[in-house]
């Protein structure tokens, strides 16, 4: 256990003992430093942990206060059987996301990694510096495609993977989700059919719902990824207008397509003239030495629209992503201008400044290593606390893994009961239009390992024998 975890646990015990009443002011950072003989950074991080645990609340420019005791969790309503899948996927997703963001919850169901893994204070420095020095006229000239120096930095990163991507064709967006949505809008009309992964990222299903499109689900094997034969068959049978796939460290399974399969995928789609929207937001979080080249690396027809982001590997909440949209770049750029005009100008400049001066490579090495260790710790806990025969994926990057239980369970019930025990999981049914994968869950290992997480996995093990969780089928 690190110094700040120890410190946080000491303070947590103090709060739980009732010595500090809800609403009372916690000692200032300075007092903590003096009392415990720790550094400023240790004290700050301890408070962040207490905040995550829901034990204290930060008031801006004032300090930390003891949080009121957490309310009993509201139960998530069970999906009514017979409901149309296209109508209620969003409801399911939102109820799960809402539950996962409550303070005090062990966020195994969250989509976000721990913000403590990011160089937030160095980034803030870059942001302040850039905001001061950016030309006022950039508010006009940095309209799409976006800040030139940022696009140049992104082009340089493509170059390192062997992709020659002119900076002019990179469009800066408010995070990858906007990039993906704009790419989808650029190549579809209401009623069109789009191929997605199953299990796959629920935001793809939500976008399809929202834009009046129809989804064809292509199975994802938890070892080898997307089933290309099934895709080929779907392309033969349906007028598929676009594919939305995640080729590296897929959400939710963590599986990566081999280079050979990526090349075969690109060839197959080129034969059918179908564009690929490639969601590659976890790519930079590879544990092996090199970035697994995305499918875009094999594209010679401009059919791949590659979408990336800094939200998962550098700057969560800054909302900066991009699309390299091949032959559709001009259309995507216009859609961007018509919907949200541009990403925040000082933020674009701030990220560009960080990429140039902030030590991005050093940070990436650190976070990749942290994620890898957290994966190993998570797998160890799974083997310790979950029933024998539980299958898990062992991702080579990112921070999600996918569990398949041997005995049939009701993952929605598990999610609901776990919330009551202050643990969130992402239940399998939110990852497909048909609410399949009822005996699967996705676990987030993007948080520094702690006894609390270990205990949370143990709780899951206990809940698996609960009568509501044991499926009746």
């Amino acid at each position: 256990m690190t110094r700040y975890e120890l410190l946080a646990q000491t303070m947590a015990a103090e709060i739980r003992s009732g010595n500090l009443a809800p609403g009372s002011r916690m000692p200032s950072l300075r007092q903590i430093i003096a009392q415990h003989g720790v550094s400023q950074s240790t004290a700050t991080r301890a408070y962040y942990l207490l905040e995550q645990w829901g034990l204290v609340r930060a008031e801006e420019r004032s300090g930390y206060y003891v949080a009121p005791p957490s309310k009993p969790a509201r139960a998530v309503s069970r999906a009514t059987p017979g409901d149309s899948a296209t109508v209620d996927i969003s409801e399911l997703v939102f109820s799960v996301l809402d539950a996962a963001k409550r303070p005090g919850i062990v966020p195994l169901g969250s989509a976000f990694p721990s913000p403590l893994l990011f160089p937030l204070s160095r980034l803030a420095k870059s942001l302040g510096q850039a905001a001061r020095s950016v030309s006022p006229w950039s508010t006009v000239v940095d309209l799409p495609p976006g800040n030139e120096s940022l696009r140049r930095q992104i082009a340089l990163r493509y170059m390192r993977v062997g992709i020659s991507q002119p900076a002019e064709d990179i469009i800066i967006t408010n995070g990858a989700l906007e990039a993906l949505n704009l790419c989808l809008m650029a190549v579809t009309q209401p009623g069109d059919i789009v191929a997605v992964e199953s299990p796959g990222f629920y935001a793809a299903l939500q976008a399809i719902e929202r834009l009046g499109l129809r989804a064809v689900e292509i199975p994802v094997d938890t070892q080898t990824g997307l089933d290309l034969d099934a895709l080929a068959e779907a392309l033969d049978r349906h007028p598929v207008r676009a594919c939305w796939f995640m080729t590296n460290f897929q959400n939710p399974t963590g599986v990566t397509l081999s280079a050979a399969k990526k090349e075969a995928l690109v060839d197959l789609l080129a034969k059918h003239e179908v564009p690929l929207i490639e969601d590659d937001v976890y790519g930079e979080l590879h544990y092996a030495p090199n970035y697994p080249p995305p499918a875009m690396a094999f594209d010679r027809h401009g059919l791949v629209m590659h979408c990336g982001s800094f939200s998962k590997n550098l700057a969560p909440g800054y909302r900066v992503g991009w699309a390299s949209a091949g032959r559709f770049a001009a259309r995507v750029q216009r859609l961007k201008l018509m919907t949200t005009i541009s990403a925040s100008i000082p933020v674009q400049a701030g990220i560009a400044d960080y990429l140039e001066h902030g030590g991005y490579e050093r940070h990436l090495k650190k976070i990749r290593l942290a994620m890898q260790h957290q994966r190993d710790a998570m797998i160890e806990a799974i083997r310790r606390w979950l029933p024998e025969g539980t299958q898990y994926t062992r991702p080579e990057g990112g921070y999600f893994l996918w569990l398949t239980f041997r005995e049939p369970i009701d993952a929605m019930a598990l999610h609901r009961l776990a919330i009551e025990r202050s643990v969130s999981v992402a239940p399998g049914p939110i990852f497909s239009a048909s609410h399949a994968f009822e005996n699967c869950i996705r676990l987030n290992y993007g948080h520094p390992w702690s006894p609390r997480i270990d205990e949370a996995i143990r709780t899951l093990g206990e809940l698996l024998v609960h009568p509501d969780v044991r499926a009746q089928s």
Copy 2:
């Protein structure tokens, strides 16, 4: 003329004389300060002006360089008669916007005010400060509806206009355009009919086009604003699903609906149960002492979705706006989460910090006064240089006015020829689906008055007699 304008003109003469070759480095700020005995702020602003004129280019962290001579402007292609209006409004708009953003152009056709009118360095301070002090967990908890302290500040501003708007129902967006688009999506399905103003903001037409909706255009009188009788008739004749109107300092005419008309509008729409998307981005730029209450102030049914922004009055390029979406708030919030997740977290916190500590009221007083003076100077130039009988609006806020020429002209041709003389205007036809208003243009007076702008109006006067501009009809 101010000190910095004088300094900029001296330096401009130096560059135009050829003494400084394109690409050569300009003197540093420190050198300028020493040489000319001016303050840092005067030197900086002089460089900003030179940059606006297209004479120098800023290189980040390096300094200013003499810009290459500007290339001859690409002509904007004429709209082919017979083209469907719904298809090419975007083309027209984009070609006009592209032309207006070129450096060296007098941007009378621009949609943006001069960035020099904003407290950018004070804002940068707030941004840096907020980015450093914001809790890392805000990246999770500030998901829609958004930063709590920012929403509280916005609710306080509503209170000043007599509107009681709970902070919980305010959704922070990437600028007002996103807010407007999300509101439109929240209440329409493809094929639905939406009422818009004519002339009106082209982004409404683009959104309608993009979402597969149909537009009914309601005439706007340049003195009294929206024609309520025409609206009543349209509501009787068509199943209108939503209205998108700008009630204060309308773009492009600058006209404002009286309080009585706003109330009548709200009543009329309530009778028909039709939601109003109220675009009020110029409201804070009122010249009279008080904010003209928006239509939302009269709403008792939660049918008005009021959209605002900091882009026009405080922080251009920061991309922070909001929607108060009445009974549709939950739906708008979910659409936000599904499309771009959230506005940039540190930027939201930065704006909140500025609103609390930066002197917003003082800044607003200054910018309103500046705009009012610029309006008067613009009207004076119009009367001096444009033909007798040219009608102009005299807005009580914002920074757009609307010209109607007595003789029929071809505003697209005027736009094209003006660009060749380094002046941009916004031609009437981009403000309606039917490309009407051929003898109208919108002028932007959002830039500090200068002899260059006066000269630009004179140029327009000269071009009005050009054979391509005199309409053949």
